[in-house]
Amino acid sequence: MTAALWQYFLGGVVDGAIFALVAAGFVLIYQVTGIINLAQGEFVMIGGMTAAALTTGGMPVVGAAAIAVVVAATAGGLTYLLAIRPARGGTALTLLFITLGVDVALRGLALFVWGTNPYSLPPFSAGNAIVVFGGALPPQALWVLGTDVLVFAALYLFFRHTRMGTAVRAAVANPPIASTFGIPLRTFAFGSFVVAAAIGGLGGVVITPIPGVQYDAGLTYGLAGFVSAVLGGIDSLPGALLGGFTLGIVEHVAAGLLSPGWDQGIGFFILLLVLVVRPQGLLGRAARRA
């Protein structure tokens, strides 16, 4: 029993690592623009799909991965330029509905480009499963966890130790004053979409060797990602990390004990619980911007 639990836990850690990346994208966009981007999961799908399709076509993994991240980032940038920016001044709800439309459109586009077949990607490093205290982790899990470390460290360094990061934080804290100081809010909004999409795309590339990917995978990632983000606090990057791993582990363990079909239900049950009991999330400051 304990061994099984431990195995579920390890599986949850891998899930949590990808959830945290998606959540980071949510938080980034929300912090900079105040928009809840329901299309965030599609960037993971786009990253995974592009990489898988290119390697299936014979391209080396490294090149395919690089292109996949660029494609995802481009999708993020276009989302901002074509859908978000023309609607600026719209209500929070209008913008939310727009991201919903983008989500549906990107999924439809993926269906057109790649069809309904599942794609797979070979693991980046060969070798047997890694044994951790009797539980098994696929070697690819290290790549996913490594990406987490890299992405969150980079975000931390950017926000805390660069002039531009400070400018972004100032802009978030007080947009009117920031713009009088010449801080380009719109450029930051555009940037947040590009970076969030690139993070999502990178997550898609590193996670795909484990579960594979198909055109509608983005919905699952997106939903889990924003549950994680709300759980951790939608205005907190450390919260995204904490929320992602918490959700991944709880979902995986609970689904292991109940039945696999329940995992999403449990995730959303947690979301409901958090929204009611602590809407600002585990590490967040405020549920809504004043």
Partner: protein, 318 residues
């Protein structure tokens, strides 16, 4: 134009009469589409009361359609209850679930309410999927149809039934939005704290609007189950909820006819795209239509955020 747009009952009666005649001349494929439009329109009318008039948001409306459908189907198959009572039971079940959940989700506003209702829709769908008593993922087959005496409903009868319900639904909703009650909903949506400071129980109003929207969805679900004779969890998933939002937005959130127009456009557009896309883009599957639906949703929100009917049929203002 404006007077026509707010004379809900007479216009609805004319539409129902036209459809009752039309179904005798239409091929059954189109009659089926009419039924579907009617069912979706019914859901969207309820959704517009909640989103457009009361100013809230639901991204999980399909779940209430599912609750209505499953309730009616289970009662019909397992207890041999007539779908007429099944529809009532479906509406009651959806209303009860909405009432209970309102204490959780309606504490939230805007973005968070959207996320909570989305979550709710998915949790309820998981329950449909995992609960073996109601068929689990394989769903429910052989759901008995509606009958009047010895006449068992056929395609035509379902189209007429669906549109009679749309007519009744729009008559009721029309009375609501033209009453002081409906204006109180608008007041809550426009300035909740201001309305509360006068003594308006905004929480109660939002709850009632939520429950009412669930009743519309529950009845629609029961008709859906019987007319299609087969339901499974995928029929009531997240994408259906998105479709309802699309219908609302296209027609105009604060408009009852907009709900009907939105439902008609989305269903028709889906059919057209399904036939046209493979001709224009060989190799593209029909499901590619969701790309266009998404694009249309975005374009509508950017270009006409108040919907197609905003020019001539917005109630309340003016």
């Amino acid at each position: 134009m404006r007077r026509l747009s707010t004379a809900y009952a007479p216009v609805a009666a004319v539409i129902v009469a036209v459809i009752a005649v039309l179904v005798w001349f239409l091929p059954s494929y189109y009659t089926g589409l009419l039924t579907l439009i009617g069912i979706y329109a019914l859901v969207t009318i309820g959704l517009n009361l909640f989103m457009g008039y009361a100013g809230q948001v639901s991204l999980g409306q399909a779940a209430f359609v599912g609750i209505g459908a499953y309730t009616s189907a289970v009662l019909a198959v397992k207890l041999h209850l007539t779908p007429w009572l099944g529809a009532v039971a479906g509406a009651v079940a959806a209303a009860l679930v909405a009432f209970a959940l309102s204490f959780i989700v309606l504490r939230l506003r805007e973005n968070l309410l959207a996320l909570a209702t989305l979550a709710l829709g998915i949790v309820i769908n998981v329950v449909f999927n995992e609960w073996d008593f109601i068929g689990g993922s394989s769903g429910f087959k052989g759901i008995p149809g509606f009958a009047l005496g010895s006449f068992v409903f056929d395609q035509r009868a379902y189209a007429i039934l669906a549109w009679v319900l749309v007519g009744v639904g729009i008559w009721f909703a029309g009375n609501v939005v033209q009453s002081t009650y409906g204006r109180a909903l608008i007041a809550v949506s426009a300035g909740e704290l201001g309305a509360q400071a006068l003594g308006v129980n905004s929480e109660g109003l939002r709850r009632q609007a939520f429950v009412l929207s669930a009743v519309y969805a529950g009845i629609a679900g029961a008709v859906y189950a019987s007319s299609f004779t087969y339901i499974d969890p995928t029929s009531f998933g997240f994408l259906l909820s998105v479709n309802f939002v699309l219908m609302s937005v296209i027609g105009g959130l604060r408009s009852l006819w907009g709900a009907v127009i939105g439902a008609a456009i989305v269903v028709a557009l889906g059919q057209i795209l399904q036939t046209v896309i493979p001709l224009v883009l060989p190799g593209a599957r029909g499901d590619f239509q969701s790309f266009f639906l998404g694009v249309i949703l975005v374009a509508m929100l950017i270009l006409m955020p108040r919907g197609l009917t905003s020019r001539f049929a917005s109630d309340g203002a003016a």
